[in-house]
């Protein structure tokens, strides 16, 4: 990007409104494409650029605009590459179903990345509250203008009809097979025939969900992690019937949101929860056997395994009801009872102590 002063013809390479010398407005010059003038393959990582190698290129356009661009593939001097003045990348209009923590996180992420978002929830009151909460959270990182602009891109409804113009719809309701089936079945008839319908399941079998749909080839799994705007991983998965095109789209879409997709088979709990749940369960067992109190178990794991958070605190964060659902699913689907939640988890949940969201779990929280 270049900005030229129409009065003195000085050129600025910053996004500033006026000429410092003449105080008159600058004219913007952009280019759609340019030629790589120099490029370096960087093999030493830095914070924000952990994945190496990558290529940073100095690109010049024929009309005198220069830009530095980062590539995750090799480019060479002389290559023609698109510049930021070109047509902006297509941002799919997206629908999100569900007003829980994950649904809200997804809405925040999508709005931050520039998407137009339709948000569907069962209960008008909860939906309105969730919307306020999402905008409050965006307000922490955005100025008033950005926030107001985001607000115009967010539309909420309790009916699925509003999803009719969406290119992508992500279901993020409770992690329960029957609930998800109900929602997917109810939503699908309202979607465009070419819409892609994705579930944010953390490990239910994709085929069990796909089989209730009339267009299973347009269906796939996009498992985001909480908080969705910060966690870089997305586990992508497909059902038997998922088309090649949709399969490829799942990874591309995750990448376009700044995430790293990891393709997983639609086996119970995928990778992360498959590894995490036994850890959580074992931490609870350690607590039950009085090896150490909760605080000590968490501290030991944090320091000894270099985890950012202890397993019991993490279980509280996830919500013990969700933990139970995942563990029960795992046990049932693998036939391995060691995956079943430990008695203490069930007891706490039965007492309504679900973790942070209820104020008590393994720990007590100020609400």
């Amino acid at each position: 990007m270049r900005r030229d002063c129409p009065s003195c013809s000085r050129t600025y390479a910053y996004d500033v409104p006026v000429c410092t010398f003449c105080a008159v407005g600058l004219e913007e010059r952009t280019s759609a494409a340019g030629t790589v003038a120099a490029v370096t393959m960087v093999t030493a990582p830095s914070i924000g650029h952990e994945d190496v190698p990558y290529w940073t290129a100095l690109v010049d356009s024929a009309d005198g605009v220069s830009e530095l661009l980062k590539f995750d593939r090799e480019v060479s001097v002389g290559d023609e590459v698109p510049m930021s003045g070109g047509k902006a990348a297509h941002l799919e209009p997206v629908g999100v179903i569900g007003t829980g923590v994950m649904g809200r996180g997804l809405v925040e992420l999508l709005l931050t990345r520039g998407h137009d978002v339709v948000w569907v929830g069962r209960d008008a009151d909860r939906l309105a509250k969730a919307r306020v909460r999402a905008m409050d959270r965006l307000a922490r990182v955005m100025d008033e203008q950005q926030l107001a602009e985001c607000d115009t891109r967010l539309h909420v409804s309790t009916g699925y009809e509003i999803l009719s113009d969406r290119e992508v719809v992500i279901e993020a309701v409770a992690e329960d097979l029957a609930t998800k089936i109900d929602v997917l079945r109810a939503a699908e008839p309202h979607l465009r025939p070419d819409a892609i319908l994705a579930t944010n399941t953390s490990g239910l079998p994709l085929d069990d969900l796909a089989c209730v749909l009339s267009r299973p080839e347009r269906f796939g799994g996009l498992h985001f992690f909480n908080p969705a705007n910060r966690m870089r991983l997305v586990e992508t998965s497909v059902a038997e019937a998922t088309s090649q095109e949709v399969s490829a789209f799942l990874d591309d879409f995750a990448l376009s949101l700044g995430k790293t997709p990891v393709r997983v088979a639609s086996k119970p709990a995928f990778v992360v929860n498959r590894c995490l749940m036994p850890l959580l369960n074992e931490a609870v067992r350690t607590l039950e056997e009085e090896v150490a109190p909760a605080e000590s178990i968490d501290e030991a794991v944090r320091l000894g395994l270099n985890h950012p958070m202890g397993p019991l605190a993490l279980a509280d964060l996830i919500g013990l009801d969700v933990v139970i659902e995942i563990m029960d699913n795992l046990a049932r689907r693998t036939g391995d009872v060691t995956y079943e939640p430990r008695p203490t988890i069930r007891r706490l949940a039965a007492e309504g102590k679900l973790g942070r969201k209820t104020g008590t779990g393994f720990y007590t929280y100020d609400r």
Binding site: M41, A44, S46, I47, Y54, S66
Partner: protein, 382 residues
């Protein structure tokens, strides 16, 4: 302009566990003793530092250093201009002599507590946050682009870069204060070095050093060992390579050199030796051309013929430079002056450049966004 370096000292540049104050004190005490002064004689002090904030969570460094002069309540401040902080601080001391005399300039940096990706990011803060940092243009990457443009425009080769590295490592072996004083670097070491940012490899890059350097500057010489600052200039430019027309040289360095030479009433051919900012090997070649020691594209000829080695026609980085002498960022520009003072006094020992009477120090911030050039002369010569 009348300014003299009347005292100069530096610590060894290299990793150390010593905290800031202790590191600072070694250089400060050394410079004061060299000047035959006590802290009571000082009019002010200036601290040059780049990354105290991001690396150590320590800003307000002039007040930290004030702890070395309890009770004096001296005027003091900190200067930050990325890797040119030291040179800019020396320039500011020269300009401030009308108000305070003498002025102690301390350059200091601690880098070894932060490693890898975090340090690379922190050093990258010398580049534009949006234009450079966001696209992963770290400093090795920045200089890699300059190298590539220089190679294409002037036919410079990776072999030329290796010659810079070999020469400066050999010089560092003669300098007890150099980071790699004890490390012998031979061709096979260079050949085995991994790529950092193509075409730059490990031995094209300066090391991460801790260190401090200090000089005492006065408007009046205190004796025969005083060295005159005959020219002192700073110039600045846009911060990102992408904002610039010239990619094979730094216009700010050329401008600073022009102003400093004019003050000193010299031309480039009067220069006997140069300490230049070789944070990467290509930077030494660019520096020689910006300083007018060679025409654009011709610095490599001096390099190939050995003229820039000690004993050559125009020794460059007799100290080992940043490449092998070490780059304790805030201390670097001050350290270059310390080296020139030692050379012009004839006290440089094994690495003494014969009959040196005019030396230049060339210090660069970022990818040429700030450049300082100082001309030092044996007093009485000019």
């Amino acid at each position: 302009m009348s300014a003299f370096v009347v005292g100069a000292a530096k610590t060894w540049f290299g990793p150390t566990s010593r905290p800031l104050a202790e590191l600072a004190q070694e250089a400060v005490l050394g410079a004061l003793q060299d000047a035959g002064m006590s802290p009571d004689d000082l009019g002010a002090f200036i601290v040059a530092n780049f990354l105290g904030g991001p690396n150590e969570g320590q800003l307000h460094l002039n007040s930290v250093v004030a702890g070395l002069f309890p009770g004096t309540r001296l005027p003091s401040w900190r200067v930050e201009a990325a890797c040119a902080s030291g040179g800019v601080a020396v320039h500011q001391a020269v300009l401030s002599l009308h108000a305070y005399d003498p002025i102690l300039v301390l350059g200091i940096e601690r880098m070894s507590d932060v490693v890898g990706a975090e340090l690379t990011r922190n050093i990258g803060m010398a580049g534009d946050a949006l234009l450079d940092q966001a696209v992963g243009l770290t400093f090795p990457a920045n200089y890699a682009l300059v190298a590539q443009c220089h190679m294409r425009e002037h036919g410079t080769t990776t072999r030329d870069l290796e010659l810079v590295s070999l020469k400066n490592h050999a010089n560092a072996n003669l300098n007890a204060k150099a980071h790699f004083h004890h490390k012998r670097v031979v061709q096979s070491d260079i050949d085995g070095g991994p790529t950092v940012a193509a075409p730059l490899r490990l031995f094209d890059c300066c090391p991460i050093s801790d260190g401090a350097a200090a000089v005492v500057i006065s408007a009046r010489p205190t004796g025969e060992r005083s060295v005159r600052i005959a020219g002192s200039a700073v110039a600045s430019d846009v911060i990102s390579l992408v904002q610039r027309e010239t990619r094979t040289g730094f216009p700010a360095a050329r401008e600073a050199a022009r102003r400093a030479y004019e003050q000193a009433r010299i031309v480039a051919s009067d220069i006997d030796m140069a300490e230049v900012h070789d944070c990467f090997t290509i930077a030494e070649i660019v520096a020689m051309e910006d300083l007018g020691l060679a025409k654009p594209g011709e610095a490599v000829e001096l390099l190939r013929s050995g003229e820039t080695a000690i004993g050559g026609r125009i020794p460059v980085n007799a100290s080992g430079g940043l490449k092998a002498g070490g780059h304790a960022i805030g201390a670097t520009g001050v350290g270059q002056v310390v080296e020139l003072v030692a050379q012009l006094r004839g006290e440089a020992g094994d690495r003494q450049v014969a009959e040196a009477s005019t030396g230049v120090a060339h210090n660069v911030g970022g990818i040429g966004g700030t450049c300082s050039v100082h001309v030092l002369t044996k007093d009485g010569d000019r």
